[in-house]
Symmetry: C2
Subunit: 256 residues, 2 copies
């Protein structure tokens, strides 16, 4: 009964890693067994959960290359109930290496298909591109969560991302759904945030979560201590908004 | 006497497009003939300079694929002396298409090598990855400008980027130099910004520009009007800091 969620947006710096780390933490906090897959060669999710570079093992690259099983590659994080399959340096060559591999879009799906595992959720943090790594996660996923920064450039890429999701649905994974769009880095002092937010709600309707994540300095601070903001400073507006978002997401998942 | 500068960093959302658009504008303002190449499939630089989607022609993809010359693909922007070779949708398939092309790392270099052109500068806005598009720009470039957001995750990727630049220097382009590292989105209220800035100056010394770009709401605002912030609101701290940066960069270039 494993559910796989990809967190994706080709626009850079919109809060993909921050959203993946905090939603995974929230799901673990309500007792779900969660594995976070760090599919970004930068390895920010591995760092954001305090996994030192030397403890990362073969990582998700090793699993996709058939060098290790999911169990062997998984690492326990500081959060009870939350494991991670870290990112390693070799992942940065993967986009090019994957091009000439048979069934290149289905490698990730194959990794989780026969998994006899006690996990309830897999959350995949995607890199800022629509290349073969992101494609692999969309093909393997049941749902996709789209963090969207409330700024003009970020809005521009949304239609391209939605088209890509539609094409994955028709060619590779008909069950893929948009679990939700989360508005991030909302700045009350900047009327552009409001304009972008209204525009997205108009186009995407109730796919957009009601919870909006405000810009909050505790969020980058938390990542420099290798902790999710929900753990680093649970009273901060950053943490509180991710707790609200998790509640909303869990309701959509029909968990409670 | 054409000089080619790539603006690159695989970390997303660090100010690559904003830096490319504003430096190109500044160079044009002092009378240099500049062409900006939008090598990001998202096309934010094309939007940030007010080039509508239907006016983009074959773009840089068409030039690299041999369908059009640089002159045919270039478009005049709203800034006198500044042209752009826009990004188009086809560019998003380019990373995969390039893998099996002969001399795949040298296509961009080939585009500008024999150019009989009156241009003084080519500035290339790179996508947030170290794939074949960014690689092509580093192979073609004389110098690389690295925007670095003053946050922890962004700092992590710097050593990876520097290693990639060193490898391009030894394998493909011995003349490539790091023109400079520019600290962006500096937030005085957030002591993390200061810590990251000090750390970068300690490791990279005088490669780091003295000018620091503060976080300034006029910058995202300007992009929603299709104008560089230097044009949209030249008195803003965002515009003033990019003018200072341009002066420093021009001095390094030995122009004046
Ligand atoms: N709500 C927020 N308020 C303030 N800062 C934030 C917020 N969300 C994320 N950040 C910070 O902004 C930066 C970008 O966020 P993050 O790394 O999560 O984005 P990303 O989409 O994963 O980036 P990339 O495209 O490089 O993978 C990080 O330094 C992060 O700490
Ligand atoms: N100094 C600044 N102050 C405030 N906002 C900024 C600043 N610089 C850039 N921005 C905004 O932050 C967002 C990211 O900047 P930009 O798009 O230039 O980064 P990028 O590195 O090109 O992103 P990508 O990795 O997606 O190509 C944009 O919405 C931009 O308007
Ligand atoms: Mg990320
Ligand atoms: Mg950009």
């Amino acid at each position: 009964n494993l559910r796989i969620l990809a967190v994706a947006n080709q626009k850079g710096g919109v809060g993909k890693t921050t959203t993946t780390v905090n939603l995974a933490t929230a799901l673990a906090a309500i007792g779900k067994k969660v594995t976070l897959v760090d599919l970004d060669p930068q390895g920010n999710a591995s760092t954001g959960l305090g996994v030192a570079k030397e403890d990362r093992g073969v990582g998700i690259y090793g699993v996709m290359a058939g060098q290790a099983s999911v169990e062997e590659a998984s690492r326990q994080t500081i959060i009870p109930g939350l494991k991670i399959i870290p990112s390693t340096m070799d992942l940065s060559g993967a986009e090019i290496e994957l091009v000439n591999v048979e069934n290149r879009e289905f490698l990730m799906k194959g990794v989780f298909e026969d998994l006899e595992s006690d996990q309830d959720y897999i959350l995949i943090d995607c890199p800022p591109s629509l290349g073969l790594l992101t494609l692999n996660s969309l093909v393997a996923a049941d749902g996709v969560i789209v963090p969207l920064q409330c700024e003009f450039y970020a809005l521009e890429g949304l239609s391209h991302l939605i088209r890509t999701i539609r094409s994955v649905q028709s060619r590779f994974n008909p069950d893929l759904e948009i679990q939700g769009i989360v508005l991030t880095m909302f700045d009350r002092r900047n009327n552009l945030s409001g304009i972008v937010a209204d525009d997205v709600r108009e186009h995407m309707g109730d796919k957009v979560y009601n919870t909006v994540i405000p810009r909050n300095v505790k969020i980058p601070e938390a990542s420099s201590y290798g902790k999710p903001v929900m753990v680093y400073d649970y009273k901060s507006t950053g943490a509180m908004s991710y707790i609200m978002l998790a509640k909303e997401m869990i309701k959509r998942e029909g968990i409670i």
